[in-house]
């Protein structure tokens, strides 16, 4: 048993926990392009000070949170009815319906985002369709805007929203709904007062599973967004790969981590609780 605990503990300690300590240490250092790697160790908070005083970084933080939050909301509005419909479908059909939700997740993330590039480009499929139907003569390009980024996030993370929602909705005791309707509740009243509150754990889990990765997203804003789409994952990437400013990129990583600590903790707590309940 000692090895069973020790091996994963040691592995994750060395390759997951220790690197974070390094990120903190490097974030306190200074960028020095003459060195290889370009870092001068030290103890200064000026990287963090820069992140909180420069308008560009502040704007990137705010727009990351805003884009992630609105995308999460859209995914919830789309995912909840889907999860509900699957949970109420005939039991022998549910596995297939669920598998169809999960399948895109098993294909390449990069390729799913790429799929939207061809659809959204000017003169792309959607553009042509709008022209052909006469809905819009000269639709503006969607590719390269925040709209496209929202669409990409909802598309990529929808399965993460549907699965936990389905898990809670499927377990829901339908007897409670019958009781509500026997007592005179209309269907929508029963939904608002019984189904919705009881599916709350699923809503929280689904929203966190979409929100957390979206905040630090890089591929989606890079491929679907424009040059004016600011997201913090992209800032980190550019600081690191384009500007080779490792300390500043590390400081961005530290801030991103601090920002996400609360949602991650809520998520882990809820996971632990739902496992105990089983």
């Amino acid at each position: 048993m000692r090895a069973v605990i020790g091996v994963p503990f040691l592995w994750l300690g060395v390759f997951f926990a220790l690197p974070f300590a390094l990120v903190f240490a490097i974030a306190l250092g200074t960028n020095n392009p003459d060195l290889v790697p370009p870092v001068e160790l030290g103890f200064s908070f000026k990287n963090f000070a820069l992140l909180f005083s420069d308008d560009l970084y502040l704007a990137a933080w705010l727009s990351s949170i805003r884009i992630a939050a609105t995308s999460t909301l859209i995914a919830l509005l789309l995912g909840y009815p889907m999860a509900y419909a699957i949970a109420r479908a005939a039991p022998n059909r549910r596995p297939l319906l669920l598998m169809l939700v999960v399948l895109p997740f098993w294909t390449s993330f990069l390729i799913r985002i790429y799929a939207w590039m061809g659809l959204l480009a000017s003169n792309g499929t959607i553009d042509q369709f709008l022209r052909w139907t006469g809905i819009a003569d000269n639709p503006g390009t969607i590719l390269g805007t925040e709209w496209a980024v929202h669409l990409g996030i909802v598309y990529a993370y929808l399965p993460f929203m549907v699965l936990p929602l389905y898990a809670t909705l499927e377990k829901l005791d339908t007897g409670l709904l019958e009781a509500a309707s026997d007592l005179g509740a209309r269907p929508w009243q029963a939904f608002l007062t019984v189904t919705l509150p009881l599916s709350f754990p699923g809503i929280v889990a689904g929203c966190l599973l979409v929100f957390i990765p979206s905040v630090g997203e890089f591929v989606i804003p890079d491929l679907l967004g424009g040059t004016d789409t600011l997201m913090i994952g992209k800032v980190l990437w550019d600081e690191f790969f384009t500007n080779a400013d490792w300390p500043l990129a590390s400081a961005v990583a530290v801030c991103l981590l601090v920002l996400l600590v609360v949602p991650i903790a809520i998520f882990q707590r809820q996971q632990a609780r739902s496992l105990e309940r089983q």
């Binding site: 994963p8 994750l12 690197p19 479908a89 598998m99 790429y114 929808l158």
Partner: protein, 262 residues
């Protein structure tokens, strides 16, 4: 009646949203034109081009090898982690252990990428190695895959019938023999689907890989990314078609593995 129609409408819209973009990509892999938005006739031209693309094939081969190595290692460590989480009720640092196992699942990839690179750069300075490439990429992939295997194993173990294990112990089997002959075979389907998940995630990973890959090695997603950045490319459509077909098969296999013995 109105309800059934509503449910049908919701699902039809949802699945159309999920699958139409993928369907378009597949259709245009057989397009004759270089433009992936204009249909100009059926052709296998881009399929031939992809299979003659030496750099792409090399990247695919590297990715497959990394995915195999990292999924296999992650399956072993993840099995241990999942087992420890359910069966070892009390040990020092259990809460920390629990968070360490799950955290890589929800960690932003850019953060994990930069932190692992710093670790490898540090070890290069202190110990002179390892060189960045196959090994560092595999280690990075193992680290985030452990969580996914552990979760599947954990879920399987929580609704596990212990009477078989108890019977074996009563008949005089040592804990190790019991584990090998009873517990492990019953857990294998879960480990198998965890392995498949880890394999897929490794094959697909771009961000973490880009950080830890070094200058020499280029994996398939790195190739795809550098090509896609410049715009749409029909060869990527072909690749997408292959990936989607393989994923569909893998998912069916995984569904069959987990359903068989539950």
């Amino acid at each position: 009646m109105g309800r059934a129609r509503f449910a049908f409408g919701v699902l039809a819209f949802g699945y159309a949203f999920l699958y139409l973009p993928i369907a378009m990509v597949i259709v245009y892999s057989f397009n004759e034109s270089r433009l992936v938005t204009v249909w100009s006739g059926f052709s296998f031209k881009w399929w031939q081009a992809l299979f003659a693309n030496e750099a792409m094939l090399q990247a695919a081969w590297l990715s497959l090898r990394i995915a195999f190595a990292s999924a296999t290692t992650a399956a072993v460590i993840g099995l241990a982690a999942g087992y420890a989480l359910v069966r070892a009720r009390r040990f020092p640092g259990r809460t920390l252990f629990g968070s360490l196992v799950v955290a890589p699942m929800v960690m932003p990839e850019v953060v994990m990428g930069i932190s692992m690179l710093l670790l490898f750069v540090g070890s290069e300075r202190l110990m002179g190695g390892p060189d960045r490439g196959f090994l560092t990429i595999a280690v990075a992939h193992i680290t985030f895959s452990i969580a996914f295997v552990a979760i599947v194993v954990q879920a399987r173990l929580t609704d596990f019938d212990r009477s078989l294990e108890e019977a074996a112990m009563d008949l005089g089997a040592t804990p190790w023999v019991t584990f090998r002959t009873i517990t492990l075979p019953l857990l294998l389907p879960a480990v198998g689907s965890g392995w498949l998940l880890a394999f897929t995630l490794s094959l697909d990973d771009l961000i973490l890989t880009q950080f830890v890959a070094g200058a020499q090695s280029q994996t398939l997603p790195m190739r795809v990314y550098s090509s896609v950045r410049l715009g749409v490319d029909p060869q990527i459509n072909v690749l997408a078609t292959i990936v989607v077909s393989v994923a569909a098969c893998a998912l069916m296999l995984s569904g069959w593995l987990t359903r068989k013995k539950v």
